[in-house]
Symmetry: C2
Subunit: 368 residues, 2 copies
């Protein structure tokens, strides 16, 4: 079974839309935030806890699983779903983002990227073909093409060369891609330059991928500039394919992204800050680790219905985090994932009822 | 409501017995293994997960909670049960064991013990009165007297002086103890010397505590010597009071302890080794962290019904542990607690059916 996108409803006042992404492991309601399970586990959570939160899809990382435990081990185990006991859809990235974040620890050629493992320093070569082979072994529902993700700011000429190579890599990825039960999504690059985004997008649209991601955003550029890129790029993407904004996970960016027609998001931030004792609330971030909460016997967030807020206080969670206790990280992670998943659920409801503009207004009246 | 022990059944061939320990927060079936929640959480577990495992009582630490977050914070939160969201019985130790394990970081006088915090190096003085005051604030169901826990080996003369001081401290603890809804248990010391154990025991028996612990065992002495001490000491303890062997948690010692009439056990080992990738099985320990399990797609233990074994393989758990993933520690911790709790459940059944001798024989036919 292929991966298909079904458009359900378009907002009449913004670009927001509701859809269903059908995959071999079930259907995902979009817009969706995908928690990141870098090493084949969403840090600190069990699959059942994710299910109970209503999470429908997770992301996992080709780079990490290739290095450890090795994609052959995962394939031998019956694929990533079985290995990690997650019965629902999985998206895997290509490994490119991790490698191109390494700076001079890697070397880029037309053929691919030479890099050193962050675990043992061993040398590896990732080509578009290998990135696809690994993802085929993992058996994710959605694989991503290998691409170079340039930093911000980045020279126009470099970006242009880079995206032309990315286009050639995208064609090689298509050729290497074997699984009929796995969709391969393209990644549009081009930095903050409108014409380069269009050039990248048009080349990739010709290759007719089942989904299109926007890469190279949320890498340091001002948020306003990211929104401009979305406003410029999303309109020339087809309505019948999902659009995925990579690496974005702050609540305000999700809301602004949805308003501009984005269907899928992912980011490590919500779970990473949780492990540092920082939680997401309607009013913005709360650093429960701070001394001011030592004797605060109220929940992380008033009126929150999550397990953490129903059963534990800021004082207890702060104690756990300060004491290095695993339960502390579990409770904050769970709360942040609940917060984001609820936000997306409410956004979908608002779009269905054609009141996403009001939803957005209300969101920003609280959010600091 | 006071804490009472109800003897239900005595084994006709061994010293093993089944009882019920009634506390203000519910009844505990004995013999019981109490998981340790040092800092107000059984590491890596939620209370609901402990409940689902059938765990009826946990232990927490006065020393740790006094230093962080401070017993006043816990009292303000409504007591330790509420603070940590655990509705069932809690036993707190007195802090003595932690302090007397510090070597020359502490100084002992007739009045109490001067020590430095392991967190910030600050100086503190723990007296019998303060140990009780802290436990009163925490509101545990069972509190322990403050005592010196001497090392092994230990000089006879030193041990004698120590246990005489312990007896004086026990009297001071009784005087300081205020809560009617909390039982105060005594701790019998005396090292591996039969006459000292008897001297300590007789003095404490005169004070008529509702429960008696054996301290200073499993501190480095050979197991055979520990069993001898149990054989010598348990017989002069009353049948209508619970006996608690402190700091013991290996499966073989639990079985041998039960055979000698012990009702309660606790130890950090089962949860601590779990976090190092070591699990308990019917056949002994298995270090799932080892390379030999990298491609082992079978559960930790064949025929184990725990969540971990029903859903995950050794290869996946090894991957998680090697990658430093929290889920790895959760899965191994859960398995070890399930293993021990099931062992105790089966032992109680065997005692009730007067076949504990066979149970023990069968246990040792597997256990390596």
């Amino acid at each position: 079974m292929a991966v298909t996108y079904q458009l359900i409803k378009r907002c009449s006042k913004t670009g927001a839309r509701v859809g269903k992404l059908h995959t071999p492991h079930g259907t995902v309601d979009t817009p969706v935030f995908m928690p990141v399970g870098t090493q084949g586990t969403v840090k600190a959570m069990t699959p059942e806890e994710l299910e109970a939160l209503g999470i429908q899809i997770v992301l996992s990382n080709t780079y990490h699983l290739y290095l450890r435990p090795g994609h052959q081990v995962v394939e031998e185990a019956g694929g990533l779903h079985k290995f990690m006991n997650w019965k629902h859809p999985i998206l895997t990235d290509s490994g490119g983002f991790q490698i191109f974040s390494m700076g001079n620890l890697r070397k880029l050629t037309e053929e691919g990227a030479l890099f050193r493992s962050h675990i043992d320093g061993s040398e590896h070569f990732l080509s578009p073909e290998l990135a696809i082979e690994i993802q085929n072994s993992l058996g994710s529902d959605i694989a991503m093409v290998l691409d170079e993700c340039p930093p911000y700011p980045c020279d126009y000429e470099y970006l242009k060369e880079s995206l032309e190579r990315n286009n050639r890599w995208a064609e090689r990825c298509i050729k290497a891609h074997k699984r009929k039960d796995q969709a391969l999504f393209a990644i549009i690059q081009g930095g903050v330059y409108g014409d380069l985004r269009r050039e990248s997008g048009e080349a990739l649209l010709k290759m007719d991928f089942p989904g299109y991601a926007l890469g190279g955003l949320s890498v340091g550029e001002p948020k306003g500039l990211m929104y401009e890129v979305l406003e410029h790029t999303v309109p020339f993407l087809p309505q019948d394919k999902p659009r995925y904004l990579m690496g974005v996970g702050t609540a305000d960016c999700l809301v602004e992204g949805m308003a501009r027609g984005i269907d899928m998001f992912d980011c490590v931030m919500p779970t990473r800050i949780a492990r540092n004792g920082r939680v997401m609330t309607r009013e913005g971030y709360l650093t429960v680790r701070n001394a001011e909460y030592a004797r605060d016997h109220t929940p992380l967030e008033e009126d929150c219905s999550c397990y953490t807020c129903r059963n534990y206080t800021r004082a207890y969670i702060r104690h756990l985090i300060k004491a290095g206790e695993i339960l502390g990280l579990r409770l904050t992670t769970l709360h942040n994932l609940h917060y984001l998943n609820t936000l997306m659920f409410q956004a979908r409801e608002a779009i269905m009822e054609d009141r996403f503009d009001k939803f957005k207004e209300r969101f920003f009246s609280y959010y600091k």
